[in-house]
């Protein structure tokens, strides 16, 4: 069955999801998976859409962009390649949290360090907070760490990287957060 990936970004306002889903429905499409978030004033969403009648993507894209333009939103579509399921390699979920003054290049350096250990970031959020009147950035990375990577080694690499930017870093197995906060 044909599938495509749709992303929509732009100014957040009421009615965006209603508009998108209505247009997809009129083209005979079915939304299979969706994730959306709002950062400050900006809306961002990603959809995986089933296209059983094989409507041309150009046509669906044009309809969406025409309808969304007035709402200061833009849509982007891409066909989704049918691929054989990849056998998941053994990983352990860890959470890397950094805290410190926001400086250019921080995110790039930290994510480079994570990537250098072949760890995959599955969720990432950055929050700006005020500490004694100074803007501080807290970054929370949820990462899948290959079982061959020792968590002590991961911590050492993260500490080396973060110390260059004056960031405090902690590396903890994800289970501790769920264990403490969830029933």
């Amino acid at each position: 069955m044909n599938k495509f990936v749709l992303s929509v970004i732009g100014k957040d306002k009421p009615g965006i999801l209603a508009k998108i889903s209505t247009i997809l429905f009129t083209h005979g499409c079915n939304i299979e998976d969706v994730s959306q978030t709002i950062l400050q004033t900006e809306f961002a969403s990603i959809f995986i859409v089933l296209n059983p009648d094989d409507h041309p993507l150009d046509e669906i894209g044009s309809s969406l962009n025409a309808a969304l333009e007035d709402m200061e939103l833009s849509a982007h579509l891409r066909p989704m390649a049918a691929s054989a399921p990849v056998a998941a390699s053994a990983t352990q979920p860890f959470v890397i949290t950094t805290k410190g003054v926001d400086k250019p290049g921080t995110i790039a350096a930290v994510t480079e360090a994570i990537a250098s250990l072949t760890c995959n970031v599955v969720h990432f959020r950055a929050i700006i907070t005020q500490d004694d009147g100074v803007d501080e950035m807290i970054m929370i990375f949820e990462v899948d760490v290959p079982s061959g990577v020792e968590h002590r080694h991961l911590r050492r690499v993260m500490q080396e990287t973060c110390s260059k930017f004056g960031l405090n870093v902690s590396v903890q197995h994800r289970d501790i957060f769920e264990t403490i906060h969830r029933v």
């Binding site: 959470v95 949290t97 969720h123 959020r125 929050i127 807290i138 929370i140 949820e142 968590h151 002590r152 911590r155 902690s170 590396v171 903890q172 197995h173 994800r174 289970d175 501790i176 957060f177 769920e178 264990t179 403490i180 906060h181 969830r182």
Partner: protein, 457 residues
Amino acid sequence: MLNDREVLSTLSMIKNENLDVRTVTLGISLLDCASHDLPRFTDTIYKRITTLARDLVTVCDEVGDRYGIPVVNKRISVSPIAVAAAPFDSRGMVEVAKTLDQAAKDVNVDFIGGFGALVEKGMAKGDLALIDAIPEALDVTHRMCSSINVATTRAGINMDAVALMGRTIKAAAARTADRDGLGCAKLVVFANIPEDVPFMAGAYLGIGEASSVINVGVSGPGVVKKAIDRALQDNPGAHLGELADVIKRTAYKVTRVGEIIGREVARILAVEFGIVDLSLAPTPNVGDSVGEIFQSLGLGAIGVPGSTAALAMLNDAVKKGGAFASSRVGGLSGAFIPVSEDLNIAAAASAGHLCLEKLEAMTAVCSVGLDMVALPGDTTAETLSAIIADEMAIGMINKKTTACRLIPVPGKKAGDRVHFGGLLGEAEIMPVRSNGVSAGFINRGGGIPAPLQALIN
């Protein structure tokens, strides 16, 4: 996906509020090591302990590191030595004590507990030999702790044992006079001792326990205090029922930490997971104090009128939250009020807010008893025994654990300061009213019969 609050509040609890696992204690049964041959016995128990506990510290550090939660102390508890080493005389018991101490040192744990006896109804040969050996054993060892159970709700109070323990405490203080009677800081007299306490100095592995078991003691008075402060910041008019709920929810979180660490350590060591002891255990550090919680609840200091009620609420809320958080709860499970080990409690005692009698009243509703209380060096053995008897009576009648860890500091008087160091902390010596006038009662000996379980008012 975790939410930000889950991540940030966990980090804040660890970094700012002293959340940690206070102790992971490996219980080791020594009962099948029994022998009438002393070298053979000491050799067997040394091998048993050092083999089973070889990786304890490494594994605890590894697991603590993975979850980012410090495991502050790693300890060992063993079967009551008075039972396991029953054939030996007191000289033999001292050799056993030295062996335990050496084993603890060699596997790098900070304390080993179980140099103890269960004598609530009577004292057998091994019990008498062990108690006789206590003063010397505590003098010549560094890491070994001793506990003697002299009362239970079902058996009553063995007053001969109570009298003997008063004399033993005096002798232990005298033997360690150069260290302010430090030996007594490692000696506890209990009523209704639980078989699975992970905390020192009362930890031992009960007769009804498995061959080896991991028991965990959680901590977190700082976390509870900060949670109350935050609740009051958000709602300054919060009533006590609401604050009890805050304590309950916080105790849940703290206990979950102990549960996950304990289970993981037990899994790696291939040892049965025992219990989580839901106790609020303070340390002599600012922000890690049970006494500070009383001030957050609105009392001037721990020990002022209202303290017993506040402690009752705190203790109960901790149990309710903790019991829900753990599949197996045990040990002492409640709030500790060890005077010298809690900076704030020690200060309240110095300022005159907390006296021995108020402390005794508070022990009727908390988990331990007169814990780490420094007393004048001239307190008589009979008065020490009488203080112990009073505390045992509270435990016996209320069907709960109570204990005494009393330190009559040689050569010092009320108001003098003593410094035990490390986790044992420091404190001012509390005055004892009416010292030396209880001998007639104590010297009668015998036992106080077990109480009725009906007509309970």
